[in-house]
Symmetry: C2
Subunit: 259 residues, 2 copies
């Protein structure tokens, strides 16, 4: 029997710029046990790090956070922009957030969520004297499926994938391509108890100590797949229109579709 | 404090065609409590339903399960085919599975995973006299991110999304687009304890009774997003090449990129 528990304690209160998140979260979840993994909603990390901006600057903020536009779509409420942001994450509106923020404000994602996770994990390891992991989560849509799931945008002190590529299945045959994105699955599990409106932006996952390791393990940035192996680097419509324009111009040197 | 527990009991044994899955799983997890959600790996549902085929027929089986090719990519080990299968799920190899199957065999997905989930949930509700939900899970890759996560391909007796579109955030503003795909998050949480190689294809999730409801709630099929709202209906390369060909032909009536 393997077993996993996720708990989301209430009572953190509103986070403000400059707050000592490690101390506040430590007080909330104390004590942590060896092998616990803390999941923290990116929103409160952003607030503590002063990433709040005026809502009037929302479109400019999205543009500033954008590295590359993947797809856009007009709809009655406005334009959806799916973009790759400076963290390599492909997300609607670059991850710029206008929910659960004070009126008239928006929130940018943390500047370096892996670094934020490392700082939190380091402080909590010192305080509780045990090895724990930290995941910083955000809510992401996904192609081909309705709705959103939480995923890891920052991580420290745990293996973000459970890499079975070198392993074998129960019949002894190599598991050539299986690589479970466990940091994303941990963020998803935590979302089930944190919820979106419950005022519980922190969850503690117990029972996954096998995934906890050194603080310098690769962070959530290593979960990002862009570049040549990305088969969906452009929306269908955008890629089609690029191709159409190139075809119409009778261009001989085709533009690569992935760029 | 909200709390969630996931446990994966060992000892189910090898499943064979014709096995009474509801009875075997019921024996394994007994007793279930009201509000428990059972997560069952699709592989054992397929085995019980006789969906095993000869490995020699793998490519033909993928073609048979395919409704529409989304993208293909050649690589040293062969060709990756990302397709929409007859369940509306976009997956590599249409979800046809060659791991953890007897040598020389492959497994197709269950014929109707929502119906399989309903039958299981109905039998378990009668046996234990309480309302429980059932999720049938499969392992899916995703664009833009490394690795795979488990998702719900069948579901019964639970709300597959936690729809906050009508709700408000902690500041009282409407949460216009938030719709948590909780069935997928439940499948992901269960994968963390079931694992891929541990021989624990079943998990019980406790603490989410708020999501459990009538057996005729929409199943996992309702999580599928294809059609006009799918901005990634074709791989970038395929869409570009379609556009290029149309542009080169100087066609005036552009082919829609989504079809």
């Amino acid at each position: 029997m393997t077993r996993l528990e996720v708990r989301a304690p209430a009572g953190l209160g509103e986070i403000r710029e400059g707050d000592d998140l490690a101390r506040l979260i430590g007080d909330l979840v104390a004590p942590l046990e060896a092998g616990d993994i803390l999941v923290v909603t990116s929103k409160i990390v952003s607030k503590a790090e002063g990433r709040m901006r005026e809502a009037a600057d929302r479109e400019a903020a999205i543009t500033e956070e954008t590295v590359r536009v993947v797809a856009t779509r007009e709809h009655p409420g406005g334009t959806t922009r799916i973009v790759e942001n400076r963290l390599g994450i492909v997300a609607a509106a670059a991850g710029v957030d206008a929910s659960n923020t004070p009126d008239g404000t928006i929130l940018l994602l943390p500047l370096d969520p892996d670094a934020s996770a490392r700082a939190l994990a380091a402080a909590l390891r010192i305080r509780f004297g045990v090895d724990v992991g930290v995941v910083i989560s955000d809510t992401l849509g996904r192609p081909w499926r309705i709705g959103q799931t939480d995923a890891a945008i920052g991580a420290a002190g745990l293996h973000v994938t459970d890499d079975l590529r070198g392993g074998v299945d129960a019949q002894g045959r190599p598991l050539t391509v299986t690589q479970a994105a466990v940091a994303d699955e941990i963020a998803a599990a935590a979302d089930l108890v944190k919820g979106k409106t419950s005022g519980c932006p922190v969850a503690v996952v117990s029972g996954l100590g096998r995934l906890v390791g050194p603080l310098d393990l690769p962070g959530a940035r290593s979960l990002v797949r862009t570049g040549p192996s990305d088969m969906f680097a452009r929306g269908s419509r955008e890629a089609y229109e690029d191709g159409y324009a190139d075809g119409l111009a009778g261009s001989r040197g085709r533009r690569a579709p992935d760029t």
